[in-house]
């Protein structure tokens, strides 16, 4: 364990950008922009994911996310949600770069609507093209240590394995593979998708992940702002627990009070 001396200075860096918060939150599925902004504030997140979509040309004066979450204060991470081919994803991110100048992006290329599982062949191809065009793709992927390595070689600035299917809230299904990805990676690893509750986020951090990305777990909580606070605390607790280094597990009990001096 390489625990830093000063825990308050614990930060992480992706593509040369350093962040104190290890929680990235989505901006979809909220009841209102106001609730969304309040949840982001409560989460302490410094990065939010956003999507690229057609402007409603019949009503172009609708309020916009940027009116509520200031892109000068919070880093926007444009995603390719809903893209099922490398070409669609690349097109989407080229437009995102033109819309706001963003080169740090979240790539996801999906394989099928039912599971929203990533199509790794297309994801790998898109990663190569994006990296060659000057993008810095943080890449949503399967929880496969080999695939994670290949993405890194292709130019991913972070690998983001799923804990469980997007929006499922099932928690981290395979701790072994997430840990193997963390051990093998030389870029940041963030669990992206599958977190349902605060304990899931803490587990991800205890496995040594650099961060956690979530949307539905906060947006679909009964009280999203309170859950955002819970997630902030869980990510911090999980990180500290990882740095502290957990005790070894034993098969049987080991008393905490001294046996000597018993009456």
């Amino acid at each position: 364990m390489n625990a830093p001396q000063d825990i308050s200075a614990d930060s992480w860096t992706v593509a040369g950008r350093t962040f104190a918060s290890r929680l990235i939150v989505g901006t979809g599925k909220y009841k209102s922009f106001e609730q969304n902004a309040a949840a982001v504030e409560a989460s302490g997140a410094e990065i939010v994911t956003v999507a690229v979509r057609r402007v409603n040309i019949s009503d172009p004066t609708q309020p916009m996310l940027t009116d509520f979450i200031d892109p000068k204060k919070i880093t926007y991470l444009p995603n390719t949600a809903g893209c099922f081919t490398a070409e669609e994803a690349i097109r989407t991110l080229r437009l995102a770069r033109e819309a706001g100048g963003w080169t740090l992006v979240k790539l996801e290329v999906l394989g099928e609507a039912k599971t929203l599982y990533p199509d790794m062949r297309e994801t790998l191809r898109a990663t190569e093209v994006l990296a060659s065009e000057g993008f810095e793709p943080m890449v949503y992927c399967v929880d496969d240590p080999i695939a994670a390595k290949q993405l890194e070689e292709a130019g991913a600035v972070a690998v983001m394995p799923l804990g469980a299917p997007i929006g499922s809230g099932l928690g981290i299904q395979n701790r072994v593979t997430i840990r193997l990805i963390v051990e093998g990676a030389s870029v940041p690893v963030l669990v992206d998708a599958g977190v349902g509750s605060a304990s899931d986020a803490a587990v991800a951090m205890e496995l040594g992940c650099d961060g956690v990305l979530m949307n539905t777990a906060i947006a679909e909580a009964k009280d999203p702002v309170l859950m955002a606070r819970a997630m902030k605390a869980a990510v911090e607790a999980g990180r500290l627990s990882y740095l502290a280094g957990r005790m070894q597990k034993r098969r049987y009990a080991d008393p905490s009070s001294p046996l000597a001096g018993l009456i």
Binding site: G26, T27, G28, K29, Y30, F33, N36, T49, V50, A51, V52, R53, R54, V55, I57, P60, T61, M64, L65, T66, Y76, P78, N79, A81, R91, R94, L95, A96, R97, E98, A99, G100, I166, G167, N215, T216
Partner: protein, 72 residues
């Protein structure tokens, strides 16, 4: 171009008839969009924002005009 000088284009999948000559900036203005808040793709190629004022809309053009929305 039609005989009355109008141009037939597609914007976000919808057919639209506009009076030529027109630049892409002019098209955005007509729709009511702020060029600084959107990105424009013309016939599958991104048009840099700096080129919007001097790029002419041509008959048959297919435009995608996008912006940033909430997402996961």
């Amino acid at each position: 171009m039609a005989i009355d000088g109008s141009l037939s284009v597609r914007v976000n999948g919808e057919h639209r008839r506009v009076m030529g000559p027109m630049t892409i900036s002019g098209l955005l203005r007509e729709i009511g969009l702020d060029p600084h808040r959107v990105a424009v793709e013309r016939n599958l190629a991104v048009v840099p924002r700096s080129r919007l004022p001097d790029t002419a809309v041509e008959d048959g053009d297919d435009y995608e005009i996008v912006h940033i929305v909430g997402g996961g």
